[in-house]
C-alpha cells in the first residue's frame, strides 16, 4: 500500500492534449481525473457568415485525420439544409472515401500508436529495428489506405474533390480497377497484422464496465456514411434528435464538454459500432472478430483496439464491393447544379473515432448563420472519466509505472481526437 | 515517296486501333478534357479527336518534358554520376501544321550546334502523323503566320474528307507504318483537289488576323517606346502561363533533388519562363530583368526580333494558346503587333547579335559534368578563395582567357565561375566569392575533394585582335578574376604587345585580391600597374600604399595612344557606365573596348535562356564583348 502520484501531462501517442491525474494515499484514491486542457479551436465561430460552398473546406480543418468525415458530415448537413440531392455515383464514391479514412486511421492507430504498448516499447521507431517485416506491412497497408483517399477525393487530409452536390473530379475506371487489385492483394497482409495483434492481445487488460454504446445504424450495411442513431439501451432514433441524445454539459477540468444519455456516460467508436452492427459485417470482418473472440456486446474499452482491427479488414472487403458496383455502372464525370435555398440540415456520419454530428442553418443567400458540431471524442470523455474511476481502485496496488501505463493504454484505446473535441458549439448569429 | 493515298473512315479507325493494340510504342493524340483538348495516351481510336481545334499544351511536352531527370548522382560516393535519358518511343497522331512548324523551329535550337542528346533521342524515337486543321480555334491567327499547312516534318499527314481520309506519306518510316497496320490505296487526282480545297478554305475561317511575320522585326525595331508596353504590363499577373503553353518557348531551369536519406538524387530539368520575376536572379541576389514592363516586352522582342535574327523564323506560329491562357488578355501577339502597326513609329533601332568567332566546341553530353579534384585551396580575403582544380581525366581544360566553367556540387547545384588562370597545364584556377549555396559549399571544401566541371564555355578575349597593340586593363573588384587569365596570358607573350597597363581598384584594402601577382606586376619595368581603393579606413592606411579613390580617378594617371590601345574593362555592373564614358572621352574607339559581363549563366550553351541580354546570350556571344557590339542593347550596360 503506498502513495500514488500520477500527473501525466499531455499523454503521448494520442491526438491532442490530455492529462491523467491520479492521487492516492495509502491505497485510498483522492483524485482521479481525465483532464482536457486543449485550447478551444472555435470552428463554429468561423463558419458564421461563410457561403455554403466553403463550409466543408473549413470544417475539414477541424481534424487532420478525420478530414474526410468532417467534410462529408458538413456536405450532408448543407445538402439537407438546402434540399440538394446527390446521385448514386456520388454516394458510392463518398462511401469509398469514408472507408479509406477508416482504413488509414485504424492502421495508424493500431500499428503506430498502440502496438508499441503491446510490444513494450516507447514508439514505433524501435520496432523498425526489432520487427522490420511487421512494420513494413503496416506501412504498406497505411500507404494503400492513403492511395485510396487520394484516388477518391484527392487527399486524405483536407480532401479536395468533395463538393456540395457531387465531385469536382472523379477517378477513372482504370484507376479503380488498379485500386481494387491493391485491396485484394492487401488481404493477406491484413490477416498477418491481425495475427500479430492477436499474439500480443494478452497485454490488453481484462477490464469491463457496463455502459451505453451509441453509433450509426442502417438496415442494409455496417453504417458509416448514412443511417439512424442507434443505442444499445434505447434502440433507433432519427439523426435529427441528436441533441436529445448527446445532452452536452461542462465540467471544470475540461475545456471539452461531456455528454450523457441514458446512463451517466456513453461510448462511441469502433467498439460501439461493432456492438451495434456486428451482424452486418462482411465474412472477412466476421472472421477476424471470431479470431479474437470478439462478440457483441463487449464492455471492455480496451477491445476498441481489436474492434478497429475487425473494421479494418471489413472496410477492405466493403471497398472492394463498392468498386465492383462502380465498375459495373461505369464512372462518369457528372455535372451538378446547386440551387441556393434557406433551411436547416442535420447530419450524422461515423468517423474512425465515433459518431459525428453537423447541424447547419443556411439563409436564402446561401450563407451559414448558425452551426453546431458534436465530435465523437467529446462523447467519449465522460466514459473515459468513469472508466478511470472504476479501473483505478482495481490496480492501485501495482507499481506506479504500471498503473500509469494501464491508464495511458485506456485513454489510447479510445483513439481520442482531443483537439477536435475542444471546438465549440451553439453559436447564435446576432 | 509515293503519292497521296486514300482510306475510308472505317479503314482509318481500324488502322489507328491496330496501331494502338499491336505497336509496342505509346500512341498519343488529342483527346477531350472537359470542354478542351489535350494530347494524351489513346486506348482506342474512338478517343482520337482529329476535329480538335487546339490542345491546352503543345506536343512539345513530348520532346522537352515538363520535368525530366538529366542525371542521377550518388551522394555517398564523391563522383558517381550517371546521365539519364527519359525516352518513351511514341507515335503522335493529330499534330496540327502550326505545331509541326514550331517543332521544326525547336529542332534548330536543340539539334543545331551543341546537340541536346536527350531531345535528339526523343525526336528519333517518335513517329509523327500530322493532320490538317478541321476546326479553327477562335483565338488562333495561324493563317496570318503561314502555319496552317505544312509540307514537311511529318511521317504521315492525314486529311479527313468526310467519309474518307487522305494520307500523304512524308517518310519511309511513315510508309512502313501505313503498310503494316493500314489498308490504303492510291488516291485519284480528285482527292488531291479535295485536300487542296480544304486547305484553301482555311484562311477565311480565321477571324483573328495579325501583321505578317516578315513585318514583326521591323515593327518591333520602331516601337521600343510605345505606350502599349506600360499599359499592358500593368495588367500582367506575372503568372507565366503564356510561356508555359507556347509551342516555341523552350527555356528551362535545372535543380538538384535529393532523396530523404541523402544517399542519392537527380538533377532535374523543368520548364521555366522569362515572365517570372526571378528568371534572371543570380546568387548574389541581383535580378537583371526585374521590372515587369521589361519582362513583358522581352517576350515579344525575343519572338519577333531576337530569335528571327538568330535562326531566321519568327518564334510564333499563331496557335492562340497564349491568348486563351492569359487571364488579363495581354499576351496576344496578333493584338500587340496590330497595335504597333497602327501607332506612329520611332526611328528603327535594331538590336543586333554580334557574330563572334567560333569558340571551343563543346563535345559530348553537354549536360553531365565531368569529375575534377580540388588540388589546393588558398584564402585570399574574407569572402574569396582561390581553388586549383585538375580534371580527373588528366586533360587540360583547354580554355581561352575570359571563358568560364560551370562548377557542380551534387545535391546543391551548379554555379558559373570564371577561370582566372592562363591557358595551359593540366590544372586551372578559379577564384570564388561566397555569395550563395554552391559557393558557400565550395568554400568549405578542401584539397582532395571532388567537384563536377562542365565547359569551358563562352566567348573569351580575342587575344589575336590585341596583338601588336597596347593593352589597358581596368579591373574593378571581382573583375580582376577573369581579367587575370588574360593578364597572365599577355605577360607570357609579353613581346607580342605594346604598353601593358594594369589598373585595379576595389572597395577597400581587405578586399584586395592576388596580392602576390600584383606585387610581381608592380616590380616589372615593362608593366605600368596602379592600384586604388574606394575608401581606406584609418587603421588600414599604414599598410596600404596604393591610391585612394574610385577607379576612374586613376585612369588619368596613364597615357597612351587611344587608337592603338585595347581597353579591357571588367568589374561590377555599376562600373561600366563611368569607365566607358571616360575611355570615350580619352578617344578610345568603341571597337577597342572589351568588356566582360555577368548574367545568370546556367546551361552555358545558349539554350536555357536565363543569361539573355535582349537577344544576346551572354554565355555564347559573351561573357566578353566588344563595346561596339553591345552599346545599343538596352539591357547591356
Amino acid at each position: 500500500m503506498g502513495n500514488v502520484n500520477i500527473n501525466l501531462h499531455h499523454v503521448t501517442r494520442v491526438e491532442g492534449h490530455g492529462n491523467i491525474v491520479l492521487n492516492a494515499t495509502d491505497g485510498t484514491i483522492e483524485k482521479c481525473q481525465w483532464q482536457v486542457p486543449e485550447a478551444p479551436r472555435l470552428f463554429e465561430a468561423f463558419v458564421r457568415g461563410k457561403p455554403y460552398h466553403m463550409l466543408s473546406h473549413i470544417t475539414s480543418r477541424i481534424c487532420g485525420i478525420c478530414s474526410i468525415g468532417h467534410s462529408l458530415a458538413s456536405l450532408k448537413a448543407t445538402e439537407a439544409a438546402m434540399g440538394v440531392e446527390i446521385s448514386e455515383q456520388t454516394e458510392l464514391l463518398r462511401k469509398l472515401a469514408i472507408h479509406a479514412e477508416n482504413l488509414q486511421s485504424h492502421i495508424l492507430h493500431v500499428g503506430y500508436l498502440v502496438a508499441p504498448d503491446l510490444l513494450g516499447v516507447g514508439s514505433v521507431i524501435p520496432l523498425v529495428g526489432s520487427h522490420p517485416d511487421e512494420v513494413l506491412k503496416i506501412v504498406k497497408l497505411h500507404r494503400i489506405s492513403n492511395e485510396m483517399s487520394d484516388l477518391t477525393c484527392g487527399r486524405t487530409t483536407h480532401p479536395i474533390s468533395l463538393d456540395v452536390g457531387g465531385f469536382t473530379a472523379v477517378p477513372t475506371e482504370k484507376q479503380l480497377k488498379e485500386m481494387k487489385q491493391k485491396l485484394v492483394d492487401a488481404i493477406p497482409d491484413t490477416k498477418d497484422v491481425a495475427g500479430v495483434v492477436l499474439a500480443n492481445a494478452g497485454k490488453l487488460p481484462n477490464f469491463t464496465r457496463e455502459t451505453e454504446y451509441i453509433g450509426l445504424v442502417h438496415d442494409d450495411e455496417y453504417a458509416l456514411y448514412d443511417g439512424d442513431i442507434g443505442s444499445t439501451d434505447t434502440g433507433r432514433h432519427p439523426v435529427s434528435e441528436y441533441l436529445d441524445i448527446t445532452n452536452e454539459f461542462v465540467v471544470p477540468h475540461s475545456t471539452a464538454k461531456h455528454t450523457r444519455h441514458e446512463r451517466d456516460s456513453y461510448m462511441v467508436g469502433a467498439l460501439a459500432r461493432f456492438n451495434l452492427n456486428a451482424d452486418k459485417l462482411t465474412p472477412i470482418g466476421k472472421e477476424v472478430a471470431q479470431l479474437f473472440g470478439l462478440k457483441p456486446i463487449n464492455y471492455n474499452p480496451y477491445m476498441n483496439n481489436v474492434a478497429q482491427v475487425v473494421e479494418f479488414a471489413d472496410s477492405i472487403a466493403v471497398s472492394i464491393d463498392i468498386i465492383d458496383k462502380l465498375l459495373e455502372r461505369g464512372v462518369k464525370k457528372e455535372e451538378y447544379k446547386v440551387k441556393v435555398k434557406a433551411g436547416r440540415g442535420i447530419s450524422g456520419v461515423e468517423v474512425p473515432r465515433g459518431i459525428l454530428f453537423h447541424d447547419y442553418t443556411i439563409n436564402e443567400k446561401g450563407i451559414c448563420t448558425k452551426a453546431n458540431c458534436i465530435i465523437p471524442t467529446n462523447q467519449n470523455h465522460r466514459n473515459i472519466q468513469l472508466d478511470m474511476e472504476a479501473l483505478a481502485p482495481t490496480i492501485i496496488d501495482k507499481p506506479q509505472n504500471e498503473i500509469e501505463l494501464t491508464l495511458e493504454m485506456l485513454v489510447r484505446a479510445y483513439d481520442p481526437c482531443i483537439s477536435c473535441s475542444t471546438h465549440y458549439l451553439d453559436i447564435k448569429f446576432k | 515517296m509515293n503519292g497521296l493515298k486514300i482510306m475510308s473512315r472505317e479503314e482509318w479507325q481500324a488502322f489507328v486501333d491496330k496501331l494502338i493494340n499491336e505497336d509496342a510504342r505509346q500512341v498519343v493524340g488529342p483527346r477531350s478534357k472537359g470542354e478542351k483538348f489535350v494530347f494524351d495516351q489513346l486506348d482506342s481510336a474512338d478517343e482520337l479527336r482529329l476535329d480538335h481545334d487546339v490542345t491546352i499544351l503543345p506536343p512539345k511536352k513530348y520532346f522537352l518534358p515538363t520535368h525530366e531527370d538529366l542525371m542521377t548522382y550518388d551522394l555517398k560516393h564523391p563522383f558517381n554520376v550517371k546521365g539519364t535519358q527519359e525516352v518513351e518511343p511514341r507515335v503522335i497522331i493529330g499534330m496540327h501544321p502550326y505545331d509541326i512548324k514550331a517543332l521544326l523551329q525547336m529542332d534548330k535550337i536543340y539539334l543545331g550546334d551543341n546537340v541536346d542528346t536527350n531531345y535528339k533521342a526523343r525526336r528519333d524515337n517518335t513517329l509523327i502523323i500530322a493532320s490538317d486543321i478541321l476546326t479553327v480555334s477562335e483565338n488562333s491567327f495561324a493563317a496570318s503566320m503561314d502555319s496552317i499547312t505544312v509540307g514537311t516534318g511529318f511521317d504521315l499527314l492525314v486529311t479527313v474528307l468526310g467519309d474518307k481520309v487522305a494520307v500523304q506519306v512524308g517518310s519511309e518510316a511513315g510508309q512502313e507504318l501505313l503498310a503494316k497496320y493500314g489498308n490504303a490505296t492510291d488516291a485519284s487526282q480528285d482527292v488531291q483537289g479535295q485536300v487542296d480545297a480544304l486547305r484553301n478554305a482555311l484562311p477565311s475561317k480565321y477571324s483573328k488576323k495579325a501583321p505578317s511575320p516578315d513585318q514583326w522585326t521591323d515593327l518591333l525595331s520602331k516601337h521600343q517606346e510605345n505606350g502599349v508596353w506600360d499599359e499592358n504590363s500593368k495588367k500582367c499577373l506575372e503568372c507565366g502561363s503564356c510561356t508555359m503553353v507556347c509551342p516555341t518557348c523552350y527555356c528551362y531551369d535545372v535543380d538538384d533533388v535529393s532523396s530523404l536519406d541523402l544517399k542519392e538524387g537527380a538533377r532535374m530539368r523543368t520548364w521555366d519562363g522569362c515572365l517570372l520575376r526571378e528568371f534572371t536572379l543570380i546568387g548574389s541576389g541581383e535580378i537583371f530583368r526585374e521590372d515587369v514592363k521589361e519582362r513583358y516586352k522581352h517576350r515579344f522582342y525575343r519572338k519577333g526580333m531576337h530569335l528571327p535574327k538568330r535562326y531566321g523564323d519568327v518564334a510564333c506560329v499563331g496557335c492562340g494558346r497564349c491568348v486563351s491562357a492569359c487571364l488579363p488578355d495581354i499576351a496576344d501577339p496578333s493584338q500587340l503587333m496590330d497595335k504597333l502597326s497602327q501607332s506612329p513609329s520611332d526611328v528603327a533601332k535594331h538590336l543586333e547579335i554580334p557574330k563572334q568567332s567560333v569558340t571551343t566546341p563543346v563535345e559530348g553530353n553537354l549536360l553531365v559534368p565531368e569529375p575534377a579534384t580540388i588540388r589546393s585551396v588558398e584564402t585570399l580575403t574574407d569572402h574569396e578563395k582561390l581553388f586549383v582544380i585538375e580534371l580527373d581525366s588528366g586533360k587540360p581544360l583547354g580554355h581561352s582567357p575570359g571563358q568560364f566553367v560551370e562548377v557542380s556540387i551534387f545535391g546543391i547545384g551548379e554555379a558559373p565561375i570564371s577561370v582566372s588562370s592562363a591557358p595551359g597545364g593540366n590544372t586551372f584556377e578559379m577564384v570564388v566569392r561566397k555569395v550563395g549555396d554552391v559557393t558557400e559549399k565550395l568554400h568549405g571544401m578542401k584539397s582532395g575533394d571532388k567537384v563536377g566541371i562542365r565547359g569551358p564555355f563562352g566567348h573569351g578575349f580575342n587575344t589575336g585582335a590585341m596583338k601588336g597593340k597596347n593593352v589597358l586593363f581596368i579591373c574593378g573588384g571581382l573583375g580582376i578574376v577573369p581579367a587575370r587569365s588574360l593578364i597572365n596570358f599577355v605577360i607570357e607573350h609579353r613581346m607580342e604587345y605594346g604598353q601593358v597597363m594594369i589598373l585595379y581598384g576595389c572597395k577597400e584594402p581587405s578586399e584586395f585580391l592576388f596580392k602576390t601577382d600584383s606585387a610581381n606586376w608592380m616590380a616589372r619595368e615593362d608593366i605600368q600597374h596602379i592600384t586604388t581603393v574606394d575608401t581606406c579606413r584609418e587603421e588600414d592606411a599604414g599598410a596600404w600604399d596604393g591610391e585612394v579613390g574610385l577607379i576612374t580617378t586613376i585612369m588619368p594617371l596613364v597615357t597612351f595612344n587611344p587608337e592603338q590601345t585595347i581597353a579591357v574593362v571588367v568589374g561590377p555592373p555599376v562600373m561600366y557606365k563611368f569607365v566607358i564614358r571616360d575611355l570615350k572621352n580619352m578617344g578610345v574607339p568603341d571597337d577597342n573596348i572589351m568588356v566582360s559581363l555577368e548574367r545568370r549563366m546556367k546551361c552555358g550553351v545558349g539554350k536555357c535562356g536565363h543569361c539573355q541580354m535582349n537577344g544576346v546570350y551572354v554565355c555564347k556571344e559573351g561573357p566578353v564583348f566588344t563595346y561596339k557590339d553591345i552599346k545599343d542593347l538596352p539591357e547591356a550596360i
Binding site: 485550447a39 468561423f46 | 503568372c239 502561363s241 533533388v257 536519406d261
Partner: protein
C-alpha cells in the same frame, strides 16, 4: 552525429504532422538522417535537447507564446510546418470578432470562475503565425503540407542549402499539369496570386485554389482586380469569400 529533431504542435488539426507519417516507406529514409527525440503524437520519449524543431499550429494564447519562445532557445533551426504555423491559416478567421465576443459566445454556459484568470482560456486578440512570435528559419507552407516539398526543404536544411520556396504563382504548375483553367470553368481561383510548390493540388481536381500556401511576396493585386472585374466580381468580394487562409481584418 545525426541532427536531433523534435515536433511540436500548437493550435492545429495535426494534419501536417500526419503527413510525416504519410511519408510511408520514406519515413525510414528520414530516420536514416535524423534522430527524432520528441514527437508527442507518436512516441513516449521526450528530450529538450534538439537541433531542429518543427512547429505545427498557430499561437492562440500567451502561454503558447512562452512555450514557443522556449523552443526557439533550444533549437538551432526552427521550421514552421504548415499554414497555421507559417501564416496563421484558418485559425485567423476568428479575428473577425473580438475576443470578448467570442468568449461570451463560447463560454456562455460555463461557470465564470473556471474561466476568469485561467491561462487555458486566455486568448490572444487573434491567432498568430510562428514568425509573429519568434524568428523562423525555414517554412513549409500548405494546408496540409505537400510531402514532396517537405522532402525538398528537409534535404536542403540537411545539406546546408538555403531552402527555397517558389516565388511564382500556382499557374505555372497548373499549366504544366495541363489543367483546364478554373476561371474558364466559371470559378474563381486564387492561383494567380498564391505561392506555387504544391504542384497545383486543388486545380488538378478541378477545385479552385484557396490560397492555403499564402500569397506571393508581391502579389499582383492591382492586375488581379482587372481580371476579376472582367468576370463580374470585385477583388474584395472574392478575396473575402476565399480568405480562409489569408484573413486580414483591415481588408487588402
Amino acid at each position: 552525429m545525426k541532427p536531433r529533431v523534435a515536433f511540436f504542435d500548437f493550435g492545429c488539426c495535426e494534419g501536417c504532422q500526419l503527413q510525416i507519417a504519410n511519408l510511408e516507406e520514406d519515413i525510414l529514409k528520414l530516420l536514416d538522417i535524423v534522430e527524432v527525440v520528441s514527437f508527442r503524437e507518436v512516441m513516449k520519449e521526450h528530450s529538450d535537447e534538439y537541433d531542429i524543431a518543427f512547429i505545427e499550429g498557430s499561437i492562440e494564447r500567451p502561454m503558447d507564446e512562452e512555450a514557443l519562445k522556449e523552443i526557439r532557445e533550444n533549437a538551432k533551426i526552427l521550421v514552421a510546418l504548415g499554414a497555421c504555423a507559417c501564416i496563421g491559416g484558418v485559425n485567423k478567421l476568428r479575428g473577425e470578432w473580438s475576443v470578448e465576443e467570442v468568449r461570451k459566445e463560447v463560454y456562455e454556459i460555463a461557470d465564470p470562475k473556471d474561466i476568469e484568470g485561467n491561462p487555458y482560456f486566455d486568448l490572444l486578440p487573434n491567432a498568430k503565425a510562428a514568425d509573429e512570435v519568434v524568428k523562423v528559419d525555414a517554412y513549409i507552407p500548405g494546408c496540409p503540407i505537400d510531402r514532396a516539398e517537405f522532402g525538398r526543404v528537409v534535404t536542403s536544411v540537411a545539406l546546408g542549402k538555403t531552402p527555397k520556396l517558389p516565388r511564382y504563382p500556382i499557374c505555372v504548375e497548373c499549366k504544366k499539369n495541363e489543367n483546364v483553367c478554373l476561371f474558364e470553368q466559371g470559378k474563381f481561383c486564387l492561383g494567380p496570386i498564391t505561392r506555387a510548390g504544391c504542384n497545383s493540388a486543388c486545380p488538378n481536381h478541378n477545385s479552385p485554389c484557396e490560397g492555403c500556401r499564402g500569397y506571393l511576396d508581391e502579389p499582383r493585386l492591382e492586375a488581379a482586380k482587372d481580371v476579376i472585374e472582367k468576370y463580374g466580381f470585385t477583388l474584395e468580394e472574392m478575396l473575402k469569400a476565399f480568405n480562409m487562409f489569408n484573413f486580414k481584418k483591415e481588408g487588402y
